[in-house]
Symmetry: C2
Subunit: 187 residues, 2 copies
């Protein structure tokens, strides 16, 4: 299954596409960031975001879309622009006949790293690891979009699974923990 | 000038179109409400709003769009959906090459009634009066959309006017006040 992940934002909107196999292996298809200038009119910025997301959908033809679920508790200054960008992302997905799954930041972190309170660095490191990338995608919005796509791809088929086996991320994280500890000792 | 006013909302999105003459007289062109069902997926609701607004723009061809400027201080439960709907409205306007003017609720109230703290009933009554309607458009979202359109139409050319004469609404409001008082006395 091919999944588009979107990390909505007015200044930088992360967009990532991954393929997930039946064995839950994920592969990077595309990652990018739609950037809009602060001095552009708000409606033009949102149109640029819509056009950018529509372009990615039309080029890579994902079958599903994952999007970060927002909470109004976030920074009130930026929350409006982010909410407007997420509204545009949702609408563009629907205009292409795609359903959207919303995932909270902690759900994304838990799915990708095994820890709901993982920090951005840990999420980025795991995204690079599970996709077999040499470096963490930059900027952070790009890595976050991939994390959301991976979360959506992995969570989809296992919803409600009470005693699910470890996800590839959880297994990899446990291994990473071991090697990190080892490195610390050796440094 | 023909102006589209949008009162964004996920459940009910008010849409009103008015013509304003060089003498600032306003005339009703269209008013409606885009309603979306609670049980529809969020992305489908936002697409329905986008389609509805695009349809009104394509049919009535406004030259400008006025939209309520949102504040995150509002009810946090509903603010996200309203923000997402406003993002969609902004993007659809830009996709048709239209600029959008944002107006705070108190700006809209002040422009239409002369009082920034007017209540919904007063705003509705003034909308009906200046448009020469027999009744206040219902639901309230429809009247609000017209109030935003009227605000945008009237404010546009007089931005920065220090000693502007009374707007038609302000004049009408003063008359309305007198007649209201008179009715009270007579009742």
């Amino acid at each position: 299954m091919r999944v588009l992940g979107v990390d909505p934002g007015l200044t930088r909107c992360g967009v990532g596409v991954v393929d997930v196999s039946s064995t839950r292996t994920v592969r990077l298809v595309y990652v990018g960031v739609i950037e809009t200038a602060h001095d552009l009119a708000l409606e033009r910025r949102l149109l640029a975001i819509a056009t950018g997301i529509a372009g990615v959908i039309d080029e890579f033809e994902p079958e599903a879309v994952g999007l970060e679920r927002m909470f109004a508790q976030h920074n009130l200054r930026t929350v409006m622009g982010t909410a407007q960008a997420s509204g545009v992302a949702l609408q563009v997905a629907a205009s292409r006949g795609l359903a959207v799954g919303l995932h909270t930041p902690s759900e994304v972190k838990a799915a990708v790293t095994g820890y709901g309170s993982a920090d951005k660095k840990q999420v980025g490191a795991m995204v690079a690891r599970v996709l077999g990338l040499d470096a963490v995608p930059r900027p952070a919005d790009a890595a976050d979009a991939l994390a959301i796509a991976i979360c959506h791809a992995w969570k989809g088929p296992t919803v409600g699974a009470g005693s699910a086996p470890l996800t590839p991320a959880q297994r990899a994280w446990r291994e990473a923990e071991k090697s990190t500890t080892a490195r610390r000792v050796n440094s």
